[in-house]
Subunit: 355 residues, 4 copies
Amino acid sequence: MAGNSIGTLFKLTSFGESHGEGLGGIIDGMPSGVAVDLDFVQEELDRRKPGQSAIVTQRKEGDRIEILSGVFEGKTTGTPLAFLIRNENQKSKDYSHIKDTYRPSHADYTYDQKYGIRDYRGGGRSSARETVARVVAGAFAKMYLRQQGINFSAFVCQIGHLKLEKSYQELDLSLTETNNVRCPDLDLAAEMESYVKDVRKEGNTVGGAIQCVIQGLPTGLGEPVFDKLHADLGKAMLSINAVKGFEYGSGFEAISMKGSEHNDAFNTDFSTQSNYSGGIQGGISNGEDIYFKVAFKPVATLMQKQTTVNAKGEAVEMEGKGRHDPCVVPRAVVIVEAMAALTIMDHYLRAKSYQ
Amino acid sequence: MAGNSIGTLFKLTSFGESHGEGLGGIIDGMPSGVAVDLDFVQEELDRRKPGQSAIVTQRKEGDRIEILSGVFEGKTTGTPLAFLIRNENQKSKDYSHIKDTYRPSHADYTYDQKYGIRDYRGGGRSSARETVARVVAGAFAKMYLRQQGINFSAFVCQIGHLKLEKSYQELDLSLTETNNVRCPDLDLAAEMESYVKDVRKEGNTVGGAIQCVIQGLPTGLGEPVFDKLHADLGKAMLSINAVKGFEYGSGFEAISMKGSEHNDAFNTDFSTQSNYSGGIQGGISNGEDIYFKVAFKPVATLMQKQTTVNAKGEAVEMEGKGRHDPCVVPRAVVIVEAMAALTIMDHYLRAKSYQ
Amino acid sequence: MAGNSIGTLFKLTSFGESHGEGLGGIIDGMPSGVAVDLDFVQEELDRRKPGQSAIVTQRKEGDRIEILSGVFEGKTTGTPLAFLIRNENQKSKDYSHIKDTYRPSHADYTYDQKYGIRDYRGGGRSSARETVARVVAGAFAKMYLRQQGINFSAFVCQIGHLKLEKSYQELDLSLTETNNVRCPDLDLAAEMESYVKDVRKEGNTVGGAIQCVIQGLPTGLGEPVFDKLHADLGKAMLSINAVKGFEYGSGFEAISMKGSEHNDAFNTDFSTQSNYSGGIQGGISNGEDIYFKVAFKPVATLMQKQTTVNAKGEAVEMEGKGRHDPCVVPRAVVIVEAMAALTIMDHYLRAKSYQ
Amino acid sequence: MAGNSIGTLFKLTSFGESHGEGLGGIIDGMPSGVAVDLDFVQEELDRRKPGQSAIVTQRKEGDRIEILSGVFEGKTTGTPLAFLIRNENQKSKDYSHIKDTYRPSHADYTYDQKYGIRDYRGGGRSSARETVARVVAGAFAKMYLRQQGINFSAFVCQIGHLKLEKSYQELDLSLTETNNVRCPDLDLAAEMESYVKDVRKEGNTVGGAIQCVIQGLPTGLGEPVFDKLHADLGKAMLSINAVKGFEYGSGFEAISMKGSEHNDAFNTDFSTQSNYSGGIQGGISNGEDIYFKVAFKPVATLMQKQTTVNAKGEAVEMEGKGRHDPCVVPRAVVIVEAMAALTIMDHYLRAKSYQ
């Protein structure tokens, strides 16, 4: 109940602080007999890693994963799969200046209020570095689900005012990983990259959005009435640092639509002609693509002077130090996919109890 | 795990079908010693009730609540509080024509796929009538939380293209319940009502949006990293029938904002000058107002001819019968409040274990 | 977390007080498509019912079950199955004399301490009448499991000093239901019945024990390391009113055994020659019979004068009124079976997620 | 649901195999601000450690704990507390001879049936070495609870036929740790030690029992009706390797007692004159001592020839190799205390939500 687990039959419990010994987690419920592809796990981690391109934070983190249990002779055993990623290049002293300072729109104040203690080094537990555990667990979920033909494709669909207007069906999603911003529209990607560089030059940051498409899903996943598939996907996305909104299928556009436009007519093979439902009806997958969008706020740490308060309530001046992202979405693409994979994996196993 | 419970320390388990014996639920975790205000519960139910105005479904449902346990001499006892609302005016034969038909954008097909059986009368379990249980549980949560000074105010902020442009601070939220659409801007409310009537005349339906504001919340509610307060609010909202999207604080607008605009500067009493954070930082309440928006799709049942398929995959014509809402948001206002109250109540009790 | 649910994939949430409106529960996770045999459910309730023989309480309770949801056209739908048993013959005034009195070895004092309020009528929620909900849920679990060839046979194996010395293999368990004490050894049963009558004449009560045998179980049920099959069976049994101990397989006798005696040698078909393991190894069923024993204390309500205290801490005299059991085990046989069935059902569904 | 977590508000999720990289766990729900006494944790681990005396296994295991997260500047932060104990002296080749063999009364066969794969080295996940994680989590629970005045004292009360007849009140429990068998009756302890040595000389093993006393507990812990305090204690104990039975208070002796003997009369300060209830009434602590007993079977690994089968169902001869315990109870004392502490800690935090 203390909030560090997600999932029921496929459950990730994560641990770790940005500047402690390391981060990691335990996956409980990994099916046995799955061949473990550690290179794939590492590739996924590398997609999230700082320092991978000119438009992300230049911190260097090795992010090498060590599997501690649950694998024997290259296969999963069905027992808890624990993993650890040691912190290596953490510069705690970069944070000594904020020891007694509450940074605006960070979690410094709320953690202090809740716990009466605060690991101020890099945000401690509230740091987005915590998401490495999610990426690892997501990689294991994908490893299993791709055997069932289920695939996850996330990509950046907006940075600042630069918005991808094409639908995902019009795009070649294999281009996502070919550019630094991870947008499959290469012209727009170039614009976005240039824009992010400008933003960084001002010492500023900017928000963004990621779309995710899940393909190859069978019908029947999702547990009404509270654990509807999109409700669990939404919670998973909203639990990612900096996320402010979630919509699936027609999303917020449904507000101004009429029923006669919005209804997805059936074909005689039970597929649908349109897919405003986003692959989910009544909380249960219908076999069509699931697609959803996630909104991220601009990073709160600025390379500009800001006025804020310290723990005594005194006004103080502060300026970001260290190495920070001007925009989180390029590195968050793999996190969105991971959280989607965790959620689908959990519902996949849950659905098996009905068969 | 079968999906009909929500919450941890304050948990609602709901049951019932739209045309079965009745609907109801069990609240486990209701604190003891709370004076039970059944009139209030009934008022809340009446806010959701069909037939309450010209722009909602004209079905007549008594929706009288019976408390089955957990109350003794007018006070809660701390034991499970079970309640039952009998179905009264259900016309099952209104649905015999869809027995073998999968209605577009309904849950008919997915339920049949998942369970191999389908209670076709009024959608059975997938009917929005299931939300009566939520309204009751929400009323009990509110009953407790208002003693702590915590209040919930939801209202309609958009129907079709008619969008409320004022912020909630500029409005008198006590006007919400004075009009049929439940929009606190009375001019806009009149426009909306007229628009919904037009839509109904065409036999059509339209989407809408609801905003909800939570005031009087203490700091410290929310459990990082997965049970962030807004993640649980989001899941609760997304579990409501017809919901397609959720955003809190700056929401989707954060995408195009810069950090320098978006950061909420602290005052020396730790309140913030702006509130793009929506009252939550790092997943934990910071004492500011929480506000969020929920998008609803247009109702799928149309009073128009539609082509669809039956369970054999044959194309069939169908037309909505019975009595349906042209737009769900006026009746959903109390449901949004209820789900918000359930979520806050759960986190309120969870936070107590730290004190 | 408030303790009124048991199970994960097959979950019972129960409600009700002995003298309130009624008792009941919600089963969440009942598989769909199971033909509902309500006569069987009623028969099971009748095995628990007061007034069924000369040696149990002479209270009259109709204990008629009403199904509120989850069944359509005689079959389960996979949605929550709610049920209600109205209280009928409750004589609350039988309890007015104990309104301010804490009865020895009852839950009066502890409920008052925990909740600050106490429904004194017949023990309220702490009454063993709460077990009707368990019997109903157990009946539904049995209904499903008997289709898989899994059967539950509980019987009284001790009352006071009268102990069944034969093993269950030496007995004809079909004789259990032929006598009032529910002991399959008819000579011993007659002795036990006579003994219970003597105890009742003194206005006294006596303890007892029940053995339960589960047959036809597949291998592979149970989730190490914490949800071992016998750990969940043990918890289920210990949650029954008046239970003081649980042992399975060799149980407490294993203490004085040597490994060379206790080890169960394998046959070449992987069955075992002996079964000290009680059908469970490493927390997982091995396909042999599961058998366990449950110890019940003597009923705390005596038809004798006792000195006790009231809520102010003043010494008061009291004497049991109303109609009480001199020994609970005859009526508890079906409860033990029900809790065993719930536990096995839950693990049966859990095991399916591995297949 | 995969069974490797225990607790709700104070939750341990454990991982690790006896011959893998290591074992450990995550404690989620550790209150913040507790001064961490790592020496105490290590002392607790040392009480469980192999090789500590002449009557336990002579394996050498360093069992050095590393804290990975959740502690900052010597205090707990309220975030997940992860820990790791690396395996050091594991001799996997000691087990190569059993690679394809199912050892009698071990979990080899059932794990293979359940998971289709088996880490045969030292039992893998089914090894009692898994309990190191429990001891660590128990140490943290004790660290918090001793500040509340709550203490745990377990001791060996029976080995084979040698049974402690005195009640715990007649004993000086501080003597428990002064002898190799951990029995506070020093004469009996000497007899037990000598007996265990004899058993070991035969290459045999023997069962035993442990009693545990919890003192200083407030009233009000335990959540009826399913999460009764003794039901959760029972489950916790039954989840320990080799446990066959659990009883609390009067336990199995209650079977042959009459109500007039068994009832615990109140004093005017609400304490009770006797304590057959074992400190728990209606599933809720009443402020008296909680005491219970746990039965352990004899270790299944014998230093004698045994006939068994291999995975093909062929009869094979085998003999234990490696270094094994002739009797588990001396090393299990700290495990029983740990599981008791975990359970009490969880209910302590749960009870706070009522205050």
